[in-house]
């Protein structure tokens, strides 16, 4: 029974961050129709930037976000302006190709700078544990959970009740009508992409403590994000967070209850199983 609680708790905590990763992707898809296959490599970039800041300035990853979030947000804006925008409106697959290419560039760029050895970025809370009865929680996971949910709620409120948020939803629901309201659609698309990448910088720091990182890990995060987004419904806020929790729990169950490779397959097996019975995703109605 303890194992079960342990798996559930661990899965919920990490799944919340997966949900956050997927929200970034869903937002970008919602306003530009772009599925970014270099999503995971931007997470890598965020993590390695934290590593670099630790090596150079001994900064804790939780402090590094003060630098990495604005820098990655700016990178996101530039990438959208100069690489993705010229492609939007062309064939969907061209944009996919572009982001896949970007993924290789990022991966090899990181490899060039940091080398291929797995690396760790220490944090003061890294080995701290929080014991609740029989369940042992790693403090970095608890922090990730709290911040991910706080950020998700913040995003939700922003989308619901600010002009910028309403502009994002307007562009998503009908870009032509949004332009007729005087909304600068191009600007909303750039800012949303930049915001999506900025969120990744934060998520990277949340996932980092205690996790060995290597340049080739990006694709794994991209795939996890895609699973969550598809499960939750591309633009469904609540669905995506729920999808994140399910994938997180599946992963935790896989690693706790099953040995080796089969355990690592667990999220994918669960995903396929859900898709077989609910191809429309988890939630009934899309709330855009």
């Amino acid at each position: 029974m303890t194992e079960l609680y342990q798996a559930l708790a661990q899965g919920l905590l990490i799944g919340s961050t997966y949900g956050l990763l997927a929200l970034g992707m869903g937002l970008v898809y919602g306003v530009s129709g772009v599925v970014n296959f270099s999503h995971g490599d931007f997470i890598s970039l965020g993590m390695f930037m934290c590593l670099g800041l630790y090596s150079a300035l001994s900064l804790d990853p939780y402090v590094s976000v003060i630098i990495t979030v604005p820098v990655m947000t700016a990178i996101g804006a530039l990438v959208y302006l100069f690489l993705i925008r010229p492609m939007v409106g062309h064939q969907f697959l061209m944009v996919v190709q572009l982001t896949l290419g970007l993924s290789l560039v990022l991966q090899n760029g990181i490899l060039m700078v940091f080398g291929g050895q797995p690396a760790r970025t220490p944090s003061i809370v890294e080995s701290k544990l929080w014991i609740l009865g029989d369940v042992v929680l790693r403090v970095p996971h608890v922090i990730a959970f709290v911040i991910s949910f706080a950020l998700a709620i913040g995003l939700y409120v922003m989308l619901r009740s600010t002009d910028f948020g309403r502009s994002i939803r307007a562009v998503h629901q009908n870009a032509h009508a949004a332009a007729l309201m005087g909304i600068d659609v191009g600007r909303v698309q750039v800012l949303t992409f930049a915001l999506g990448i900025g969120i990744l910088a934060l998520a990277a720091a949340l996932l980092l403590p205690g996790t060995p990182i290597q340049p080739t890990q990006g694709l794994r995060y991209t795939v996890i994000t895609l699973l969550v987004v598809v499960l939750g419904g591309m633009t469904n806020f609540v669905g995506i967070m729920l999808g994140g929790l399910i994938i997180g729990i599946a992963e935790a169950f896989g690693t706790i209850y099953l040995d080796g490779a089969i355990g690592l397959l667990m999220p994918y097996i669960i995903f396929v199983a859900i898709m077989l019975f609910r191809p429309q995703g988890l939630t009934w109605r899309s709330s855009k």
Partner: protein, 234 residues
């Protein structure tokens, strides 16, 4: 107020409009008529700036706005109520109206403006929290016009406001248009419905295959044989 001089516009290098000259006086209600594919929507989108002109220029209150972005034109008060209404379906009536007044000139007074719009359309006020997608066609048209008025329009351009509505709603919408006109708003009414438009507009232009075929007052347009041929494609 609005002058279009020698406008040629289209999509992907293909000219849809050729050498259009149209003028809207201050406070005028002008009809833009024509069959399907005559270029009415291209014309209205050229005025909104979502279609780039290939030649010619557009003057608004003396200022050349030909190169301005859609946003800059909305900020000057050139507002379009698009064909098919295009309300934001997953947003409430209230949110749709707020978005209508999102441009920098209208935003400061949009609460007061919303009160005026709801006075004009009390039916919208009764269900502010309802999603626009669940409204009837007529109610969506009210919302689309209300959303346009929220932008503090100086020229309101209505694209096929009668399209797909029941006769009762058409009558109601045209009463509203008359009321707005009586209050001094300059209106460009794009319509396929010839007789209806001729009854309400002071002057009309009839487009045929991208060019102005007929222009003048209601009677002149009604009696001009070219009007009939423009509609029948003869």
């Amino acid at each position: 107020m609005l002058e279009i001089e020698g406008l040629t516009a289209g999509y992907g290098g293909i000219e849809v409009l050729r050498d259009i000259n149209v003028r809207l006086g201050d406070g005028e209600l002008v009809g833009l008529l024509g069959a399907n594919n005559a270029g009415k929507t291209t014309m209205i989108n050229s005025l909104s700036g979502t279609v780039k002109p290939m030649a010619g220029r557009i003057l608004f209150q003396g200022e050349d706005i030909t190169r301005l972005t859609p946003r800059q034109r909305v900020e000057r008060g050139i507002v379009q109520v698009p064909e098919g209404r295009l309300v934001f379906p997953e947003m409430s009536i209230r949110e749709n109206l707020l978005l209508g007044g999102i441009n920098s000139r209208a935003r400061p007074q949009r609460r007061q403006q919303m009160e005026k719009v709801l006075e004009l359309f009390p039916r919208l006020g009764e269900r502010l929290a309802q999603h626009a997608g669940s409204l009837s066609g007529g109610e969506q048209q009210m919302l689309a016009i209300g959303r346009g008025l929220m932008a503090d329009a100086k020229v309101l351009m209505l694209d096929e406001p009668s399209l797909g509505l029941s006769p009762l709603f058409v009558q109601y919408i045209f009463e509203i248009i008359d009321k707005l006109h009586a209050d001094g708003l300059t209106i460009l009414l794009v319509e396929q419905n010839l007789n209806l438009t001729l009854r309400h507009a002071q002057r009309c232009y009839v487009l045929e295959r991208g060019q102005v075929a007929v222009e003048g007052g209601a009677d002149a347009v009604r009696n001009d044989p070219r009007t009939k041929s423009a509609y029948l494609g003869l």
